[in-house]
Structure formats: C-alpha cells, structure tokens
C-alpha cells in the first residue's frame, strides 16, 4: 500500500502579504499586491507595475547573515518561506532525522544584476567605445562580485534552506518555468510515497521583477502594458484581459508521511492525494489551444488520487490573465471535468498577486490547503466583463464560504510542461 502524504505546514511570502495568514486574509479580502515597481526606476516604461514584495527584511529569516550577500532576491524569498513553513509545522521543535528530511524547490533564473554587468561592460570598452572581450578579461570581469555565480544558481534556494534546517535527505530543484513549483510539490510527494524520506519541504521561489525580465516578457507580448490602475491590471478570465503582471515571492508546504506526522502529533491540514504531469510541444508561449495536454495533467492527477471530477470542490487555476491561457484553461477544465466543469468554482489568485512564474504553483497549492482548512475560497478579482468563451464559475470579485473537501491546482508552463495536484481534506 502506498504511503499517504499530508501537509503539516505552510510558509508564504506574497506580494499581498508576508506570512501565510496575512497572505490568506488578503486573498479572501480580494486585496491586490500589484503596485508601481519600487526596485528600480521605470520612468517612461510600460509596464511599470508588478506584484512586488515590499517590507521584506531578509535578516528576519536567514540564520547565517554572512550568506546574505551571496543570495539573490528569489533565494532570500525561498529561504524565508521554508523558515515560515518549518516553524508552522513545529519541526523546528521536533527536528526530523536529518537523512529522512529533504527539500524540492521550483525556481527560475535568478535576475542578472544589470548595474553590476553594466559596470563590467563599461570597463570593457575600448577607445572607440566598442566592447572588447580582451578588456573584459583584463579588467571588466573585476567589476563583478567575485561570487556572483553563486548568487545566480537556482539550486541555491534548496542548498541554503537545507543548511538552515539541517535537511540531509533528497534535494532537488526543478526549473520548468510556470510549472516548476507544482512539479516540485508533486515530486516531493512521490519521494515520501516511495519511502525515500519522511518529511519534505516543497514549494518554489522566483523573482522576475528586474529590468531584463521586464524587457524580455514585454517583447514576448506576454505582459500587460495597459494604462490602468495597478490593481486592475491582472484580470484573469475577464473579457478585457490583455496579459499578465510579473510578480515575485515564494511559498512552501511541509509534506510529511502520515505516519511521521501522527507519531509527532502534528496538526494535519490536508493530504496531497494526486499529481499528474504532461507536456505539450506546440509552441513556447502558445499553449495548445484545445487544452488537450493541460487537461491530461488534471486527469492524471485525479486518477492518481483515485477521485472523480464530482469529488472536486474547487480549482486553484493557473489563470494568468493572458488571452490565450485563460481560454485554453477553460477548455481544458471542461475537457477534464466533463459535466462537473459547469458547477465547480475556480479562481486565480494571479488577479491579486500577478504571475510568480516558478513560485506560482506553490502559492496556488497553499490556497488549496487553506481553502480546505477554513471552508472558503478566494475570488478572481477584476472579473468585470464576462468573456463569452470563458463561461465557468470563476468566483468573481468576492470570496466565497463553502465546504471544500478536495481541490485541483493547475500550472501550465511556457515551456509546454503542465502539472496538476489534487489536495484533499485529511480523514
């Protein structure tokens, strides 16, 4: 018989709230965390709003302060989320056996520090103001922080966090863009299920609020450049949606074998019951429009959980606010859920926090756990004008109190990777 995997802790660093309860309260209140970018000057540029983390002091979370200088922004968020989750689960007081305690994180490109690279480039110009590699080798490279490489490795979230928590078990970092942290949670659950660990920290951390990402996503046409109030920009499933808003942050779940959680008397919030993943190869930012492969990830996750669509009470949607994704996802949900699609509420917290890319799935899974815990689901805000092709119940604008026994959490990546989780009430 397969080992059951339960959730015993959460940690969230979100643009609309630092800490799980602040995040959850804000989501239920429909509070947006999207605002003008503070990290750097965006004068004259569109977009200039994002789901930025503000009021975050890494020193509150990172035990080894010396290591802060080699931790990129998303690494700091990631380590902070793991700390919150470990404390929430009580594992800081009851440390698990080190070798049976692991971590899997979803992550992405750690933003290049353009100021630093800019200085290195300027140092590498010749008398004609042309860039010369010889000069970069001679003096330009000295402008870079000597340990810059470490600052920019995505596996450093898991590396720093494993050191902070003494986790010597399985250690992995998944980098499949928007699906990364959903896959991370799924893979971590599998590790416990097959008996390779008793406790896993699983989630994701990402930050794309930097000049290069802003330019790259804008060039792709994926982010909204509309002139609207910042909190109105992200509007998944709304007829006037026109692209996503970049975000940053992190979230972690503590996954534990049922046995281990019970033995230490842990509070069990939910069970990770199923995971499914698939690939659609039809274009990097264009999802397969019929949603066949996205639907397959959902179907596989329900099959893995041994559950039927009728047993699913809520879907934590990928809902990015792009024209294509939201249409495709609506179709995928219809395909995977059949007649149930018309009844099951779904919502996208990206309406409030933007797209956290490699961390998105982890925050959305956390929403699923909290919905089960508290019997309430967050709204999709800014859903003002119905899109005839997006005709499901997206929980528009107001949170809803309801009994939630099981949820599906969806993630569909730019690279074509799709992943879905089934999280259910623990019985």
């Amino acid at each position: 018989m397969k080992r059951r995997v339960v959730v015993t802790g959460l940690g969230v660093i979100s643009p609309n709230g630092l800490g799980t309860e602040n995040f959850w309260k804000a989501c239920l209140a429909g509070q947006s965390g999207i605002a003008p970018i503070e990290a750097f000057d965006t004068t004259g540029f569109e977009p200039r709003n994002a789901g930025e983390i503000t009021g975050f002091n890494a020193r509150d979370y990172v035990a080894n302060r010396k290591s802060l200088k080699i931790m990129g922004r998303n690494i700091q968020f990631g380590v902070a989320a793991t700390k919150l989750a470990v404390e929430h689960s009580g594992l800081n007081e009851q440390p698990p056996e080190a070798e049976r305690f692991g971590i899997v994180m979803g992550s992405g490109i750690v933003p290049t520090d353009v100021e630093e690279v800019g200085a290195a480039i300027m140092q590498s110009l010749d008398e004609n103001h042309e860039f010369q590699l010889e000069k970069f080798g001679e003096s330009g490279q000295k402008m870079l922080h000597p340990l810059w490489l470490l600052k920019h490795l995505p596996n450093m979230v898991a590396a720093h966090a494993s050191i902070q928590h003494g986790a010597r078990g399985p250690n992995n970092t998944i980098v499949t863009a928007c699906s990364a942290s959903t896959q991370a949670i799924g893979e971590a659950a599998r590790i416990i299920e097959r008996g390779d660990a008793d406790v896993m920290v699983a989630g994701g951390a990402d930050s794309r609020i930097d000049p290069l990402s802003l330019v790259a996503y804008t060039l792709l046409g994926a982010v909204t450049t509309a002139e609207r109030d910042p909190d109105k920009l992200s509007r998944p499933f709304d007829r006037n949606r026109d692209g996503f808003v970049l975000g940053e942050g992190a979230a972690c779940l503590i996954l534990e074998s049922e046995e281990h959680a019970k033995a230490r008397g842990a509070t069990i919030y939910a069970e990770v019951a199923g995971y499914g993943t698939s690939f659609d190869g039809e274009g990097v930012t264009r999802p397969s429009m019929e949603g066949v492969h996205a639907a397959r990830a959902m179907e596989l996750s329900m099959k893995d959980a041994g559950m039927s669509p009728d047993e699913i009470d809520y879907i934590s949607a990928h809902g990015t606010s792009t024209v294509l994704n939201d249409l495709m996802e609506t179709r995928a949900i219809k395909r995977a859920m059949g007649a149930r699609a018309a009844q099951v509420p779904l919502s996208s917290i990206k309406s409030m926090i933007g797209h956290l890319i490699g961390a998105a799935g982890a925050l959305e899974a956390a929403v699923g756990v909290l919905a089960i815990r508290d019997g309430a689901v967050p709204p999709t805000i800014n859903l003002d004008a119905a899109d005839p092709e997006c005709d499901l119940d997206y929980v528009p604008n107001e949170a809803r109190e309801m009994k939630v026994r099981a949820i599906v959490s969806n993630s569909f990546g730019f690279g074509g990777q799709n992943a879905a989780l089934v999280i259910r009430e623990y019985e």
Binding site: V117, E134, L153, S162, I163, N172, T176, F279
Partner: protein, 426 residues
C-alpha cells in the same frame, strides 16, 4: 505486484571528444583528452585559457537553428536524437503520452555583447540609470534570444523533437543534474508513469562571464601551457577542474516494454540515492558525509552489499576537496585499496560537463558493463595519500563487471548516485 524493472535501450552523447556515444567510448578507452586552449572567443587576457570545448559544434537541421536555440539545447537535441534512434524508437513509435523527458540542464549563456547598447545608454550620465537601460534594451534585445537562457529550454526542445507528451521536467542540481535526471526517471518508470523516458543532461558554459565566474571561485585549473594535462583527478598535483560542455542522453525503458519490441538492452538501472550535504554552498562536506550517505542509499535501494560493485565511475572533478572527500567516502564503504573496486574519472579526459557530466558518466558505466573494459583516469602520475584507491591510472583495463556505480556530487551539496547492472536476459 512485482516491481517494474528499468533498462537502458539507447544512448547518445556529444562531448569534447566528439559526437556519438560509441565514438566517445572508443576515445575514452584510448585515454584521449578533449581539453585545449579555448577557441570560441579570445582568451589571451583571461586567467584561465583552457576548456574542454565541443569543437566544432555539432550539426542540427538548418531550420532548427533559431535565435531561441541555445548551445546547450543544441547539444541536447543532438544527443537526444542519437539516443532515440539508437533505441530503435523511430520505428517502434511508442505512445507519445507514455514517453517522458527528464533533463539536467544549466542555464543558457548571458551574451554580454547583446547588453552593450543598453549598458552604454544606462551609464551615459556616469551613474547607472534604469530608465535608459530599459528604453535601449527594448530596442536592441530580442525576446527569442532571451529565451535561450531559460533553464527549461532543453527539455522543451527535446520533448518537441521526439514528440514526447509524457512527464517532462528539468532539474538544475548543478554538477549532479544529469545523474539526478536518470535517477528520477528510473523512479518514474518503476512507478508506471511512463514506459520510456529520455533522461540525461546538457550544459554549455564556456563563455566569458561563466569562465570568469568559475575562475574567481577558485575552482578552475589554470594549467594553460599544457591543457591536456590540466584535468588530473585524484593526482596529488591536481589544481582544479576544467570546464567542459556537451550532453549525454539515455533512453530508459520499462523492461517488458523493451522486451515486447525486441529492443537491444544495454544495461539495467537498479539503484538510486539522493542526499543533501546541508553543509556549505561553496564546499562539499570535508569528510564526504553526504556523498557517503548517497552511496549507501543507492546500495540499499539496489539491494546490494558494497562487495557487489565492480566499478565506480567517480565524480572525480580534479579539485583538491572533491577528490579527497570522495576517495575517503569510498574507502569507508568499500574498504581500502585492494578491497574496494576500481574507481576512475572520465573528467580527466573530457573535463567537467557540469549538468551533463553525470549523464555522460552513466554512458561510460553502461559501456564498461557491456564491454568489460574500464575507462582510465588519465594524467594520474603522483600518488596522493589522501586519495588511496585504484584509479585505473592512464590505461583502460579489461575487467568483467556485474554492477557499476555512478557518482555525482553537485555544487551546493546535492549528491546523486545511480547503480547499473550488466543485463543478462533471464
């Protein structure tokens, strides 16, 4: 229910010794070095001027060379297609939904020269102005080129190239990533999530930024005058690793699926261990506690006693710390020289392929099992008392082996060990 078994039915490699897994094996057995002075860009002013480059770059169909195809993705396409064809999957046409792609990958290259106009504009006033940077970057950067850098690109390109619609994921556990993908693919196949998974790694970081980044970490060997002697794992005079690049991909397949289509079976994957050091992000644990545990977990997972292992393909990077730590960890599990199995590091010949290293090393393990020949550790000239094992110095050796162990230890403390078995039909 009896556990599903996992076998290797195809392989592909692109390394500094060339393209083709068979050709690579022949050159490794001959003890050839792929390390040379860097040819891709002028290196006169760099402290480290050597690397193990894939030179020239392997060919891919003209229409695939787009702005978004980074060098590392190109390597993955070439190695992955070779593995696919080698396994006879062109003809077998497995159900796409039951075919997955698991890759270890590094990032694509940050091309400094593309950023020059934006940097100049940003610095026009003497201090960095973001508005200027953004404005100019929008005009000069290309979204397609920016995509190259994304970590998931190799999995995406390879998944599309072979039409694999099953599980697709990319891991970035640094130097352990390629071996990690193999270990996780083995677990996924055993669990029944797919029938066939292309698993391996790809990496290319021989660019000015990365070269200087690794060099300032003090990790690279700067024996610029004798490139082919630079990588010398376990030798007392080792002084850092040599940056390599390339890709290795294995077709892993569930046994009954392979038998049903009468595939050639190269070897069986029988064990996997994964641990974290939880020590330091810059150094491995000095006593190799994490590495030792990973080897023990892999043995337990395979249901083997240490004495069953006939060959260890070492991580053996040629850095002082790794090699001493690894040799000692091996000694604690397998006993002293004479008792422990032979250990060798092909990094002596092809350098350190980072995220691809573990996959190419797995291919070497499979060939060793098949042919009864162990690849050598070249440049092994000076005995180091801290590394006291049989490293198959300088000459390949004929030895029939039943089980081979593949070690990979990543920067940041991820330790991955896989175990392969010679395949005998029963």
């Amino acid at each position: 229910m009896s556990a599903r078994r996992v076998v290797v039915t195809g392989m592909g490699a692109v390394t500094p010794l060339g393209a083709g897994h068979q050709r690579n094996w022949e050159r490794m057995v001959a003890g050839e070095s792929g390390v040379a002075t860097i040819r891709r860009f002028p290196v006169e002013t760099f402290d480290v001027k050597i690397a193990a480059e894939v030179y020239p770059l392997p060919r891919v169909p003209e229409d695939e060379i787009t702005d978004e195809l980074g060098i590392h993705s190109r390597f993955a396409l070439v190695a992955g297609r070779e593995a696919w064809a080698d396994a006879g999957l062109d003809d077998a046409r497995p159900d796409p939904e039951r075919v997955g792609v698991f890759m270890g990958s590094g990032k694509g290259i940050l091309q400094l020269d593309h950023l020059v106009p934006a940097a100049k504009e940003a610095m026009a006033s003497g201090r960095f102005e973001y508005a200027g940077f953004l404005r100019r970057a929008m005009e000069t950067l290309s979204a397609e080129r920016r995509k190259q850098e994304r970590y998931h690109q190799a999995g995406t390109h390879l998944g599309r190239a072979v039409g694999a619609a099953g599980p697709n994921w990319v891991t970035i556990t640094a130097c352990a990533a390629g071996n990690h993908a193999i270990g996780e693919a083995y677990c996924a196949l055993r669990r029944g999530e797919a029938d066939v998974i292309l698993a391996g790694g790809t990496h290319s970081q021989i660019d000015p930024m990365s070269l200087s980044g690794y060099a300032t970490l003090g990790a690279l060997c700067d024996r610029n005058d004798e490139p082919e002697k630079a990588s010398r794992p376990f030798d007392r005079k080792r002084s850092g690793f040599v940056l390599g690049e390339g890709s290795g991909v294995l077709v892993l397949e569930e046994l009954s699926h392979a038998l049903a289509r009468k595939a050639t079976i190269y070897a069986e994957v029988v064990g996997y261990g994964n641990t974290g050091d939880a020590y330091r992000v810059t150094d491995p644990h000095p006593e190799g506690i994490g590495a030792e545990t990973a080897m023990r977990v892999a043995l337990r997972n395979a249901g083997l006693e240490p004495g069953a292992i006939g060959y260890i393909n070492a991580h053996g990077t040629s850095t002082h710390q790794n090699d001493a730590m690894e040799a000692q960890a091996i000694g604690r599990i397998f006993g002293p020289k004479g008792e422990a199995p032979p250990v060798s590091s092909i990094k002596s010949m092809i350098g350190h392929l980072i995220a691809a290293a573990g996959a190419v090393e797995a291919i070497a393990c499979v060939h060793a099992l098949r042919t009864g020949v162990l690849p050598p550790t070249i440049n092994y000239e000076n005995h180091d008392p801290e590394c006291d094992q049989d490293f198959v110095p300088n000459q390949a050796r004929e030895t029939a082996v039943e089980y081979a162990m593949n070690n990979s230890f990543g920067f940041g403390g991820q330790n991955i060990v896989t175990v392969f078995r010679r395949f005998a039909s029963e």
